[in-house]
């Protein structure tokens, strides 16, 4: 489904990713953890090319992006078409209602009629527990509600893979669960997911695979069970010790 080969990324003199290789199979739930600044977001954002790798290649489905070959707009579109993304700070469109947030992409990109798009939007809102909010504006929603709308907005594009970059990190504690519940439901419905998170309980319960990153490298690629029992590397042990 996803294959990153020898991905490197530098911001000026700072190299943030070093020759990272990663394959994600359909229906895998990959959770990515690691200390702040280790390159988790950069790696995640390389998958849908919000961050363009300096070296290496990104394959999603049968579309391949090669870092050295210039812009490749068509490839970017083919890759992004299959991927939905959820951000830490939601990034809902504030000038559009919840319903418009959910229908804009399907109408403008997928070519659905407004009626089709709205019907699907209502179904998605129901799925994330917000069927009473179609006319609300993002400003009027709580953080947890915003994030659920953001998930629904991404799902409205019918992606094969969902990327989550710390989806609960800017939420008040009492709202974390409602978002994680939606993600759990997605996982049960066999969505392929790559999730950056600090929610270790969620990782333990939902992940099929756990990656530990540090200083731009994937140091461990294992199961959550094995990882939380006894991480293989000293750095991962230190990371876990600091959490507890």
């Amino acid at each position: 489904m996803i294959e990153l080969k020898y991905i490197s990324k530098s911001f000026g003199p700072l190299t943030v990713l070093h020759d990272v290789n990663l394959k994600v199979k359909p229906q895998e739930i990959v959770v990515l953890i690691g200390p702040s600044g280790s390159g988790k977001s950069t790696l995640l954002r390389s998958i849908n090319l919000l961050e363009l790798p300096s070296h290496g290649s990104v394959r999603v489905g049968d579309a391949v992006y090669h870092a050295v070959q210039g812009p490749q707009e068509k490839v970017k579109q083919a890759i992004r078409k299959r991927i939905g993304m959820v951000f830490q700070n939601f990034h809902l469109f504030p000038h559009m209602s919840v319903l418009e947030n959910l229908t804009y992409g399907p109408v403008q990109v997928l070519g659905l009629t407004t009626e089709q798009a709205e019907a699907e939007a209502f179904a998605l809102l129901d799925r994330v527990g917000l069927k009473d909010k179609p006319q609300a504006y993002p400003l009027q929603l709580s953080g947890g509600q915003k994030q659920r709308v953001a998930i629904a907005r991404a799902l409205a594009m019918k992606p094969d893979v969902m990327l989550f970059d710390e989806p609960t990190s800017s939420l008040d504690p009492e709202m974390v669960k409602e978002v994680l519940d939606v993600m759990r439901e997605l996982a049960q419905k066999s969505m392929t997911m790559v999730v950056v998170t600090h929610e270790m309980r969620f990782a333990q319960a939902v992940a099929s695979r756990l990656l530990f990153m540090d200083q731009g490298r994937i140091l461990e690629d294992t199961t959550p069970k094995a990882f939380f029992k006894m991480p293989a590397t000293v750095r991962a042990q230190a990371f876990l010790d600091r959490l507890v």
Partner: protein
């Protein structure tokens, strides 16, 4: 000491200038908005040539007096190109070109002020670049800079009085004509001044209403 009675028959003539002044202002604002949006897109776009062009344009129109620009277009352009413009056309053209420069700076700041996460979210939804600009970035940018845009329109309204110099029969010119005819200055100018002031107040309160409407959708 005041002789409003002497100019009373001429007051309707002055008041009609309100419509003329409004025409200058509104048409030029529209021209300025279109031009300003295009220039702002050049400034934030990838093409270095367009960036350079838009920066040069803005710099020239902000760096020279409006009166000089008006003179260039009304007096100098015909001698250079044989193309003669009416005072009305020359005024509209000059004000549009001039306010386009200012509005482009305002919009550029507005675009820069939109959270870059908005663009990333739109990209992740695979929305094409021009639709991101048109439907996501520009509406938010415009809303953010609405107060500055209103300021620009108010400036334009007041500066439109300059067309009286080339014979445009706006509010200002009409007041001057009456003054010259009756040898009375205070009265006609006061009438015109009140008109300008009321127009500016109306415009700013209209903007406040609009702003409030947009703020809580």
């Amino acid at each position: 000491m005041f002789h409003f009675d002497l100019i009373a028959p001429s007051i309707p003539f002055i008041l009609e200038g309100v419509l003329v002044t409004l025409q200058y202002t509104l048409i030029s604002v529209c021209g300025g908005l279109v031009l300003g949006a295009l220039l702002a897109l050049c400034k934030v776009g990838k093409s270095l040539t367009l960036q350079w062009f838009a920066a040069g344009y803005t710099s020239i129109f902000r760096g020279t007096p409006l009166l000089l620009q008006l003179g260039m277009i009304y007096y100098a352009l015909p001698t250079l190109t044989g193309l003669t413009l009416s005072p009305f056309m020359a005024g509209i053209l000059t004000f549009s070109l001039n306010s386009g420069a200012y509005i482009s700076e305002i919009l550029k700041a507005g675009i820069a002020g939109v959270d870059k996460g908005q663009r990333e979210a739109a990209l992740s939804l695979n929305i094409p670049q021009y639709k991101i600009m048109r439907d996501i970035i520009l509406p938010q940018a415009t809303r953010n800079v609405l107060p500055s845009l209103v300021n620009e329109i108010v400036d334009l309204l007041k500066e439109s009085a300059l067309v009286s110099v080339i014979g445009g029969t706006d509010l200002m010119r009409r007041a001057n004509l009456v003054a010259a005819e009756k040898y009375l200055y205070f009265e006609p100018l006061l009438v015109a001044g009140c008109c300008y002031y009321i127009l500016v107040l109306a415009l700013t309160s209209l903007a406040k209403v609009l702003e409030r409407k947009l703020a809580t959708p």
